[in-house]
Symmetry: C2
Subunit: 238 residues, 2 copies
């Protein structure tokens, strides 16, 4: 598998230049970031950092998808977030990571060495401002997901999840109707607080009802966007 991004490129050509923590930076500030960065790639399925590991670098996801998760002692797993291009890993001021990070697809990271990056956070307001914005956005998303985990039914959870996939894979101007699930049934279950059997049954039911169609296990088509939205428990929302 090849990566969509040529890691020889400069920041100015970076696909996440205007969305990541560097979004507000000017050319000078970008140069300071560029001086402490390097790229790293992780094949699908491999661990990126483990909970409790010493944090030696902060990273932005450049391409691919990673999962943030927590595993309980007896093996129960909860995925607490998906990291998409431009999302950030690490908490300045902390020594260790609090959740496990795993590559779901092949992942390319843009990594910043820890100490110099922490100095930049102190020095360059454009970075702390952007990181504040991004953290507040993620906080909102996390709270939204808490509503899903605490109060939605299995059907509503899955409908919400499918809508999320659709929204996130939307490329402005390209009204696609075929999407692909980046996760296995088990990973979806761990994200939604369900079991893989429940995911499978609900997807089959939605297929039977004509709401969605599948081409293979991963590729799906939304036949009735409105019905999907009604099934999500968020009727009358964005």
């Amino acid at each position: 598998m090849t990566f969509a991004f040529d890691t020889q490129e400069r920041c100015s050509a970076c696909p996440i230049r205007h969305r990541a923590i560097c979004a507000r930076c000017d050319t000078d500030e970008l140069a300071r970031l560029e001086a402490i960065k390097s790229y790293a790639t992780f094949p699908a399925g491999t661990p990126i950092i483990w909970r409790g590991d010493a944090l030696t670098a902060f990273s932005s996801v450049v391409t691919g998808i990673a999962a943030l998760s927590r595993t309980m002692e007896d093996g129960r797993v909860q995925v607490v977030g998906l990291l998409l291009p431009s999302d950030f890993i690490g908490r300045p001021g902390r020594n260790a990571v609090d959740f496990d990070v795993t590559a779901v697809t092949d992942v390319t990271l843009c990594q910043f060495r820890r100490k110099p990056f922490e100095r930049l956070v102190e020095d360059v307001p454009h970075i702390s401002q952007r990181m504040m914005e991004m953290a507040l956005d993620e906080l909102n998303a996390a709270r939204e997901w808490m509503v899903l985990l605490g109060r939605k039914t299995a059907r509503e959870k899955i409908a919400t999840f499918l809508e999320m996939i659709v929204r996130r894979s939307a490329v402005p101007g390209q009204p696609a109707d075929t999407f692909t699930l980046p996760l296995t049934r088990e990973e979806i279950a761990n994200f939604l607080g369900l079991t893989l059997e429940t995911i499978s049954r609900q997807l089959s039911a939605m297929k039977r009802e004509g709401l969605v169609s599948f081409e293979g296990r991963r590729t799906f088509i939304i036949n009735d966007v409105a019905a999907l939205h009604r099934a999500s428990g968020d009727a009358g929302e964005p």
Copy 2:
């Protein structure tokens, strides 16, 4: 009911001076905040801001406890966080609030007018830096709660909740063993993604097993801290 904080006081005497968004500010910066602040109080049980309301001010909780929650169309409620003294309300750059905020106990807020505050966030790095830290802390707490909502049993949820109360009401140097529940059974249920009956039954069971004792409905004593921790599903954690 009287408030524990005299709102005539200056910032320098503020109980949350060193924990709120102003924590890193020096005297000059504090003066700029002081110029745009005012206090507001809300009696227990009243709404503070409603989802979708125009955001005219940002606030820090000075005293009391508020709840952040979302209500679904059919009335299901999920509490997504408790706001304690020093916690912040509002998202610079957004026009509206995304969740309902309700006073659980009597609450005093320190409010900043919107526009001038947004200007300060741009101008004063100490503010955006502190807000970034606080947002990242809350993000961690939210993700921790996602694990609870998605994967813990009713018993584990309640044990975790009680431990949280104990941890949060701990005053360094005062090894208290009597605590008080700030929430009704229904509010606890909405926080834990359960029903009030399940809360009541589990608390009764824990009482029967000698884990905790109650004095009235709101006051409780932890008889076996270790057993409570074991019941939380977080064995072998902080």
